[in-house]
């Protein structure tokens, strides 16, 4: 088994290319299918750790406060994301409750925690336990974190309710908006490039 370090193969069509030296922010694309081959992620990496920490804080806020409060003829009602999951579970729709909990709470939280652990500088990066396993987990979780879809769902639900009741947006709604913006940067980072960063001595 011998490494061919001068070449790179396209993940989507198997075509082989010479590896190019990329400047900061440059992306190499496959000529055959247009897929991203390689990227210089150094620059982006610098902002990634602070963004991950900020995302974690906002994530906690988003899940601790009510998303929305509803008033209907003197009656008040409010819910957090976890509250909605619990309501689903107590109704016996536990499959959907699990799905919602996984895609909006568990997976995004795991992604942020893993990224945080992998990015925090350590004295001895070679001996970081579970490095390879955690990157694999990040890659598997990547399609399943759906905070941005959830946010759109909240907006649709609110407009639907605003026809019949008074709607007061809660703190968590704004937190989810911020979280969505931040996570588009954090989660769109392909974990594969963490290998690259590790090699370059990060």
């Amino acid at each position: 088994m011998r490494e061919i370090s001068q070449l790179i193969a396209c993940e989507h069509c198997d075509a082989v290319f010479k590896k190019l030296t990329l400047a900061n922010g440059e992306i190499a694309r496959c000529l055959r299918c247009g897929n991203e081959l390689d990227r210089n992620a150094q620059e982006r990496h610098r902002h990634l750790l602070p963004l991950t920490i900020a995302s974690l804080i906002i994530f906690v806020i988003a899940n601790s406060f009510p998303i929305v409060e509803m008033e209907l003829q003197g009656l008040h009602s409010q819910t957090t994301l976890i509250g909605a999951v619990v309501s689903l579970a107590t109704e016996g729709i536990s499959m959907v409750a699990l799905l919602v909990m996984a895609t909006t709470i568990l997976f995004p939280f795991m992604q942020m925690l893993i990224l945080f652990y992998l990015l925090v500088p350590s004295k001895n990066p070679d001996e970081r336990p579970g490095f390879s396993l955690l990157i694999r987990m990040m890659q598997t979780l990547r399609p399943w974190g759906m905070i941005e879809v959830f946010l759109l769902g909240v907006l649709v639900a609110l407009i639907k309710l605003s026809n019949m009741a008074t709607i007061i947006p809660g703190i968590a709604l704004w937190a989810f908006c911020m979280l969505t913006i931040m996570l588009t940067v954090v989660v769109s980072f392909n974990p594969r490039y963490l290998w690259q960063l590790e090699e370059s001595g990060q």
Partner: protein
Amino acid sequence: MAKTYTSMATPDDAQNMRFITATAMGLLSCHQCGKLWQDAAQGQRCAHCNATLHSRKPDSINRTWALLITACIMYIPANMLPVMVTSTFFESHQDTIMSGIIFFWVSGEWGLAAVVFIASFLVPLLKLSSLFILLISAQQKSTWRQLERAKLYRMIELIGRWSMLDVFVVSLLVGLVQMQGFAQITAGIGIVAFGAVVVFTMLASISFDPRLIWDNEQVTVDAERLAVFDNTMDGIAESQKGTQ
């Protein structure tokens, strides 16, 4: 944006050039860290990151078919059964995916009706039919519109998650509208089927190997040429560089 390429096999023209593949060169690429290995066997571990090496995702076509057919079966109850039940003091009212969209449309929320129509109706349908096209053409090793098929695959990977929208809408309404005896929204069994459609189509597109779209030209590299490549890397295409 630099754009240079030369190809190992003689190009007929720039658009229709033939690319040399890792498989043809006897190389295995690691799906996790991207390293290329020579003289590695299928199922062997990557020496860099310890992932299992495969030239193609194992059993991709069969797995994708199984997941796709499951998704198609779930698609029927997902659209027929109620996803949400609204009970007020006077009446009880059931909503399916489609009746929810029609409700928005009739009440004048056209933008919203369009968003929900796209996410809950068009995207799942587009995804199911695209996967059918991708699977059948890959099984026939067709050379028909390969670039478009590659783009189609990338598109369904990108938009598939958005059909989860209705699952989140229903969850939130169920959590919020719990005014006992006065107004209450409960989830219908249709939402379970609908969630299953989204999950199974996502699993299907993940298990499909897009390299199968291109697996039809039998280009093999003879030993002589491989030796040339070993020394000089002559004739291997350079990729396209750019900033987005």
